[in-house]
Symmetry: C2
């Protein structure tokens, strides 16, 4: 900066003013400074700036392995929304979802140069974790239920599960079987509860729940079981990947989809429309979730006002994996 000041025959303070786009600089002086900055290849030092202002213009994101489709889409939206607001994203990975790892991530967090944090971690770990997040650091929780402690943004899981279940019932199925996600997942629990309450509200029987781990492979395993049961005519799986496994199991068992069995997924991943048959599913608006969580966080960072919880609605996408039950 000093070099630029010398080159442009001004003081460092004036360079700073130009660099920050203040308007109380004479047009001619500004030009001279800009020319000098360009000539010398000047780049503001973000560390010094952060030290002086106390703002890092960066948002931390704590998340487990990115390999979950939904997390990735959410992260993508967060990154874009943050960039639009002039913030960058600092990833704080948690390689294994154990309590210890989460604690380590939180600890590391306190030394990270971030103005706020978005946490995309199963809530039960948050609850069990006695590690305290650095005080005064704004936090937004996604896909979880720590709403009592922090603002939360999430897909309206219950709404989606109800849409899926009611769609199948309205086609004439007597009841709907459910392939749930892992017990410890809050979103899996929400979907399962909404499925169950929807069945009860319509006076349908509630069949036993089959539990997977979100993977297509686990969907295949429980799908083999469902395929053997001739009573099963409608299946709601808690995500699209498990639906893929269920479809494969049904094909292997020679049960026609949707002729004999209808299947509905959850997520609407890009590939779902190319499943065989194309999958009827509940679309989640991950982009919206990411956008809103950044909005919420930045509001707290910049104005100190803390918002409440926000749920993002879902949409049922009807494709070709659902039909009326066999006569």
């Amino acid at each position: 900066m000093a070099d630029v000041a010398r080159e442009a025959h001004v003081s460092g303070q004036t360079v700073s003013r130009v660099s920050n786009g203040r308007d109380n600089v004479d047009a001619e002086t500004r030009e001279r400074v800009l020319a000098a900055m360009h000539k010398l290849g000047y780049r503001p030092n973000s560390a010094a700036r952060a030290l002086r202002t106390g703002r890092f213009h960066s948002i931390g994101v704590i998340m487990f392995t990115l390999s979950s489709f939904g997390n990735m889409r959410t992260l993508d939206a967060i990154a874009i929304a943050a960039a639009d607001a002039g913030y960058s994203i600092t990833l704080i990975p948690v390689p294994h979802p154990t309590l210890g790892e989460v604690s380590v991530a939180f600890d590391r967090l306190s030394e990270e140069a971030v103005d706020g944090v978005i946490i995309i971690v199963e809530a039960h770990l948050l609850d069990e974790s006695d590690v305290v997040l650095p005080a005064g650091l704004p936090v937004v929780v996604v896909d979880s239920t720590a709403a009592d402690r922090y603002p939360m943004v999430d897909t309206d899981q219950a709404h989606g599960a109800r849409l899926a279940t009611e769609h199948l019932l309205s086609l004439g199925h007597r009841t709907v079987w459910h392939v749930a996600g892992p017990e410890r997942s809050y979103s899996a629990t929400h979907r399962r509860e909404a499925w169950e309450s929807t069945l009860r509200a319509h006076g349908a029987d509630v069949p036993p729940v089959l539990v997977g781990d979100w993977s297509s492979e686990s969907g295949h395993e429980v799908g083999l079981e469902l395929a053997r049961n001739p009573d099963v005519t409608a299946i709601f799986t808690a995500n699209d990947q498990m639906a893929l496994g269920v479809l494969r199991a049904l094909h292997e068992a020679g049960r026609a989809v949707p002729g004999e069995v209808s299947v509905v997924g959850f997520d609407d991943m890009e590939e779902s429309r190319s499943f065989w048959p194309p999958l009827t599913t509940v679309r989640q608006f991950f982009g919206e979730v990411g956008r809103l969580s950044v909005e919420e966080l930045l509001q707290e960072v910049e104005s100190g006002e803390r918002g409440g919880s926000t749920l993002v609605a879902t949409e049922l996408i009807v494709r070709e994996s659902t039909a009326r039950p066999p006569a």
Copy 2:
């Protein structure tokens, strides 16, 4: 820090030494300082530290939309490898893969607090872009070919494509059709070239190339065309998602897989084993690519030594979508 020093009756410098784990501090003093740090909830200020040391302990990652399966896996591995080395990841998203956006990202980069950058962007954009990366900033390029300007780490695309093509030929297919990725993609080009040269090496005809855009939907479109052609008995698609679309098209056309037509993909995404039928494909080791790119980058950051290019081998995963051609 001053508060901690006062609390522990030592100088700030001693606090700094404890904070950095230097060993030239008396055990008793260290205990006293640690106690004071804990009591006061002291957290080192990373901005000041970065200002003083010139190191940010952060790696920038420039990438397009995360929604590509492979990029995500790579990013995940980068994040974990970086965390292991004590670095965090700063994401610099490029919402749209246009020249302008890339320039903006590079510009933004120069103000980011990073010690080095990993670029996961189609190389043709790098080549066309006249934006100069900040001089002196270590760069590693992934999934691209700017090897002449920067070290590169990538999957051995040609090796994988050869494995896939030879697998089909060795099953007895007269030739292999290819569904390529977009023309401007270097990895798509490499796979296509290797497929073609493998066919030639084996004296097989080279059928016309069909081009998709990596999406399962585009795979479905070109798949419909292939399904109509009775000469087609073996298809190598440039990624698994397009293979999914091709499978769907073949099902719709009533052509048995692998009875009439064999299909091989590329990537080995988690879902591929649950396709119908489970997909024979070329596995990419994204984790290895990510790990190596961090290793290469940090070597340059910390020792100034710049390495060369590294290719990561692939592995053919034979499942149930390939068989001998019909008699």
